[in-house]
Structures are given as structure tokens and as C-alpha cells.
């Protein structure tokens, strides 16, 4: 990983980002705007499953409304995230928060994808029984919590020293 970090930091695109001070804050700001879209979308779908919002709409309608925004914003997050890794490889790739976050991003994304595919295939079952199960409601709460943790860990990358010996990131 250290070798990869070394190599990445010497690439021309990384050097370009490093020498232009406005790039990182701008990319981070766009990243946060997209986080807002993801968090709100997950929140609305989960509130619908929990029966706390959008009760006049079916789960399929709610997911149809927010699903595409969720996927679109995740693409923006991936693109801006990659730029941040290229621009500051050591800060990201050697950070404990970063890898814990990536693990949770994988869990969150797979969960969202499986949910949307399953809903599309078994729409009637979902509406009539699955969405009403207690387990499903707990899962909705858990996914929301996962995304909140992802946001927190994302910010903690900037303070990776709090993990002590677990962090290999250089001190900012």
C-alpha cells in the first residue's frame, strides 16, 4: 500500500491536484453535496418502510422516486472520492477510517442494490408482507445507521491520528 501511495502521489494528475490549492476543497464540497442526496434518499426510503413518511405512496413508488437519485449521487461520490485519493494518496489509503469506511460503503451499496432488485422482482410480496415485517424495519434502521457511520468515518479521515497505532496516515 505504501508503494502504491508513493507511485500515485507522483502521477501527473496527482501532482496537478497537489499544486492547485482549490481542487481538494472544491472536490470535498461536491462530495458533501452528494452525501446530502444519498443520506436524504436512504432516509426517505427507510422512513417509508418504518411507516413514518410517504404512507400515501407504495414502497415501489417511494423507491422509484428516490432510488435513481441514490444511485446517481453514489456515482458522484465515487468520482469525487477517487479524485481525493489521487490528490492525497497517503492521507486516504493509509488511514484506518478510510478502509473501515470503504467496508461499510460496500455493505451499504450491496444492501441498497439487493433491496431494489428484490423489490422489483417481488413487488407484491414486498408490499403485502415483507415491508411490514419487524425484521425489515430493523434492517431499514440498520442501513440508515450504516450510512450515518460512513459519513462520520469520512470526516474522521482528516483526524486519523485518533486511532492511535491503527493509523498509518501521516499527521496533517
Amino acid at each position: 500500500m505504501t508503494a502504491l501511495t508513493e507511485w500515485l502521489s507522483q502521477t501527473s494528475i496527482s501532482l496537478a491536484i497537489q499544486t492547485h490549492d482549490w481542487v481538494i476543497p472544491t472536490v470535498q464540497s461536491v462530495h458533501i453535496v452528494a452525501i446530502g442526496v444519498v443520506l436524504a434518499s436512504v432516509f426517505m426510503i427507510d422512513l417509508r418502510i418504518l411507516g413514518l413518511a410517504g404512507r400515501d405512496q407504495s414502497l415501489t413508488e417511494t423507491t422509484g422516486r428516490f432510488g435513481p437519485w441514490l444511485s446517481g449521487a453514489l456515482c458522484v461520490l465515487l468520482a469525487t472520492g477517487v479524485l481525493m485519493v489521487i490528490g492525497e494518496p497517503a492521507r486516504e489509503l493509509l488511514a484506518f477510517s478510510f478502509w473501515l469506511k470503504m467496508f461499510l460503503v460496500a455493505v451499504g451499496t450491496v444492501t441498497a442494490a439487493v433491496f431494489q432488485i428484490s423489490l422489483r422482482r417481488n413487488e407484491i410480496q414486498w408490499e403485502q408482507s415483507v415491508a411490514k415485517r419487524r425484521t425489515t424495519k430493523w434492517l431499514a434502521l440498520a442501513t440508515l445507521l450504516i450510512w450515518v457511520c460512513i459519513v462520520i468515518l469520512g470526516r474522521l479521515i482528516a483526524y486519523d491520528h485518533i486511532w492511535g497505532a491503527w493509523s498509518r496516515a501521516p499527521k496533517a
Partner: protein
């Protein structure tokens, strides 16, 4: 009591001192600030996009708004609280920071913009509630709102980059390096 005395006493308060001297508190407070502000922006965007006729168009505006706005205020409360806690740790520096001042001004504008909605399109909501989009006044407020909140996010990030924590001196002579096992 002038402003710099006030800022000084805020910085010297027990709460501010506790946050400054902790390794974990400031990062955690800042993280929850991001959670709060992204929820504020995301939920407001849902309402603005409804007003503009871009999304949620098949639901009456009042339904969309009543589902969401209460959560927006909860998130706003979290964001303001965490924001204040960050401010007091380095009040003088933030107070004089250009991006901090701009952000506060834009937040005030966002409030006025919301008031504009209540005074214009909000008054006749029963007439366009089920329409594809709000009347021109409502659409204008929505577009301005989106623009303001996105700019506020940018300003916030710039505050972080222009008020380095290097300015933040621990109150006791703690060497951060000593806190870690060698």
C-alpha cells in the same frame, strides 16, 4: 464588554476548553456537523425539487413538505449545536474569517428566502398544491434556496481550510505525540 472580550471569554469557557483538550471531541463534533448539514441540504433539496416540478411531482406539495420539514428542523438543530460547539473552541479566529462571515450571511439569506416563500406562493398553496410545479414565485424561491445551500456547504468547507487547527493551542503543555504508545 466589547466583541473581542466576549469571544475571549467564550473561548476560555469550560466547554470550549474541554473540547480543545480532547483528542476525540472536535473530530466527532465535526463529523456530526456533516451528518446534520447533509440531512438539512438533502431534505430541503427534496422540497425545492418538488417546487421546481423536477421530482415528487405526483404528490401534493403539502404532503411532501409535511413528511419532511420536521426532520429538516431536527437536522438543523443538530447542525447548529455542533456548529456552535466548534465555533467556541476558536471563536476569535472563526469570527474574523471571511468564509465564516459569508456563510453566516448566506444562512440569514436562506432564512429570508424561506420567509419570502411564506409571504408569496405559500399563501396560495391550496390553489397549486397538486400542480406539477409551484407558481413562478415558488420556483424562484426553490432555485435560490438550492443555490444558497450549496454555496453554504462550499463556504463551510473553506472555513476548515482557512482556519487551520494549528492556530488552536492546547491549554496545557500536552505534546500530542506523547499520547500514543511509541
Amino acid at each position: 464588554m466589547n466583541i473581542s472580550d466576549l469571544l475571549g471569554s467564550v473561548e476560555g469557557s469550560t466547554v470550549a476548553t474541554t473540547i480543545r483538550n480532547s483528542l476525540y471531541l472536535f473530530p466527532l463534533i465535526e463529523s456530526f456537523h456533516v451528518v446534520g448539514l447533509s440531512m438539512v441540504f438533502g431534505t430541503i433539496a427534496i422540497i425545492d425539487l418538488r417546487l421546481l416540478g423536477i421530482a415528487s411531482t405526483r404528490r401534493p406539495f403539502t404532503r411532501v413538505a409535511s413528511d419532511i420539514l420536521k426532520w429538516t428542523w431536527v437536522a438543523f438543530g443538530l447542525t447548529v449545536t455542533t456548529g456552535l460547539l466548534m465555533f467556541i473552541t476558536n471563536a476569535d479566529v472563526y469570527y474574523h474569517n471571511f468564509f465564516f462571515r459569508s456563510k453566516m450571511a448566506l444562512l440569514a439569506l436562506a432564512g429570508i428566502n424561506m420567509l419570502m416563500f411564506e409571504l408569496t406562493a405559500g399563501r396560495s398553496v391550496h390553489r397549486w398544491d397538486k400542480d406539477q410545479s409551484a407558481p413562478l414565485a415558488g420556483k424562484t424561491v426553490a432555485a435560490v434556496s438550492l443555490l444558497l445551500w450549496i454555496t453554504i456547504i462550499f463556504m463551510g468547507r473553506w472555513i476548515g481550510f482557512t482556519t487551520s487547527r494549528a492556530n488552536l493551542k492546547p491549554d496545557t503543555d500536552v505534546n500530542i505525540e506523547d499520547l500514543f504508545p511509541k
